[in-house]
Symmetry: C4
């Protein structure tokens, strides 16, 4: 996670909801256990920290509650940023026929079709959370989504699975991006 970009959360308790959440403005490569906040379902800090939770805490809470995820990860990479832009007009990216898809929870064959929705970016977090909720409602089987010119969200039952999903989706996005370039040259 470059500079202060990206963030992560993990469910500590379901009822009432408590999320371990990375703080705002901290270099994630240097994140220490002491810096991790605990927040409630309204993104208020319930641990003993003077820090500010990430602006995107509301998005993590929404994903956690709607999907029952145990952990949520969000990354900014060159490939996910550029493809979220390039395919924005299509509303998403279709990823199909790759063996690597089998690393996504519940996928048994490379013949799986993963639709990765792209949602317009916004600084209005409640509005963005609502847009994400509506997108996830329409795409119940998806393992992640892109925010346009912003980054990738994925999740899992726990942090290890969420990390595996991020790695697989990043791999497939880079593969799709490079294939797009090469296909054009091969014609």
């Amino acid at each position: 996670m470059l500079g202060t970009s990206g963030n992560l959360s993990a469910v500590v308790q379901r009822e009432p909801l408590r999320l371990a959440m990375s703080p705002s403005g901290v270099d994630k490569g240097e994140l220490t256990a002491q810096q991790v906040l605990t927040i409630d379902e309204d993104a208020r800090i319930v641990s003993d920290h003077a820090a500010k939770p990430s602006d995107e805490s509301l998005l993590h809470i929404r994903i956690t509650k709607q999907l029952g995820a145990g952990a949520v990860l969000h990354t900014h990479s060159v490939w996910n940023t550029m493809l979220s832009d390039l395919y924005a007009a299509d509303g998403g990216i279709n990823i199909e026929g790759y063996e690597m898809l089998k690393g996504l929870q519940g996928v048994k064959t490379h013949e799986h079709r993963e639709w990765l929705p792209i949602i317009d970016n916004s600084q209005d977090m409640p509005a963005l959370a609502a847009a994400i909720a509506a997108t996830l409602e329409r795409n119940k089987a998806t393992h992640g989504f892109l925010l346009k010119r912003h980054g990738l969200y994925s999740w899992g039952d726990n942090l290890a699975q969420a990390k595996r999903h991020i790695e697989i989706l990043e791999f497939l996005l880079e593969t799709l991006g490079r294939t797009l370039l090469a296909e054009n040259s091969k014609r």
Copy 2:
């Protein structure tokens, strides 16, 4: 080897065949010696492990028996995935004229022509093993093959040689992929 993808095997004993084999679903970057399974020629675990052997164990066994290889490696990379797709209709990729080819066992000159066959991917392991066997029968001199949108297989007399072959083929695939792009621009 990204996430849980890729796998490796090495011959422990020829008669009856015993292969040291990476387990299924384990992050290969964190693979420990204790996790390595021993399997027989029917992919049954003969070591004291509750784990599941990799789904692709049958492919390793077939390659080992047919070619007398001492070790087999399988990798998923962005470049091997995209080129296995891009050249699938050609049935393979021709690699010719590169000094780096001399790193492949038995190759003495850059004027060597390496034909890297591409085989359709499948989740039916016995059928895929049979397709691989037929391809290797027709291409006795090859040092590896690609599974479409899946990855690269290579092998050697031992793990060090198999690793060298994988590194060389990955290098050459990236070189071919980038050349394809640049050739088009230079015209």
Copy 3:
């Protein structure tokens, strides 16, 4: 910072100006605290070193004085070099609509428009410093600039912020460069 390329400075004292400055001709990856020079506002060494200050010290001094920056960083990367060339005729590069822009000091929304000016390279340091001063006078809000076929300059209140600005601008330049390639293929 590759080989002996790139350099960095940080303000030690404002009145009279004293800059900690990387020396000329030293591999920056192996730079030690003992090698860091202290220079005055005419780029004369005031610390006890027999070394030569970087040729580009005058540029660091000018940026520091004009903008009140606390630290200045200069990097040579493949992406910043090629884009400084490709967009030179446009006089700069427009970076707009990326979430990552929010990592630049004072930027609150992805809807920010960052104009990164491109200045012709020169070995005449006083002339180049004057060209930079004129460019910064016309572009008071910019967080960096490019020297054509040479590299990127950025700055901040301190070294940590300057480093964050460099990382963000490098990320965005690579994203723009790759998008340029892919857009063309997608059409």
Copy 4:
């Protein structure tokens, strides 16, 4: 240096010539001081080693003698391999106008023009050494050359300078390669 590819030499003594030379077939990333051979001007081992000197020892000797170099480095990279192929018909690559050129010994300005000759690859080492000698005779100011679909040679007064030259030439080759792609897209 990938796998067993690439090699390096350094002058130990001028009269009679003694070169410290990397052995053949050893993984250069794992090269130890004990493995380094000493050879004479006919590429015969004069140190107490049972090893075989690199096939390309004759090329190192020729470069050392003709140019008075203190060290020679040879690398295989994806970018140097593909550009040595792409520009082979032009006989070389022109690198001009880059600040990074100033890292090459004796170059004082970015306005320098570096002509990097490309020589056809061969397994006949005496013939290849002769072709290199003729090329260097015609291009006395060059800091390196490419062997087609093979790799890059550079040199310096000592290993540190040779390494700096290799790093700079690799940087510039990648920059040229990426610029070629992007220029085409920007038109």
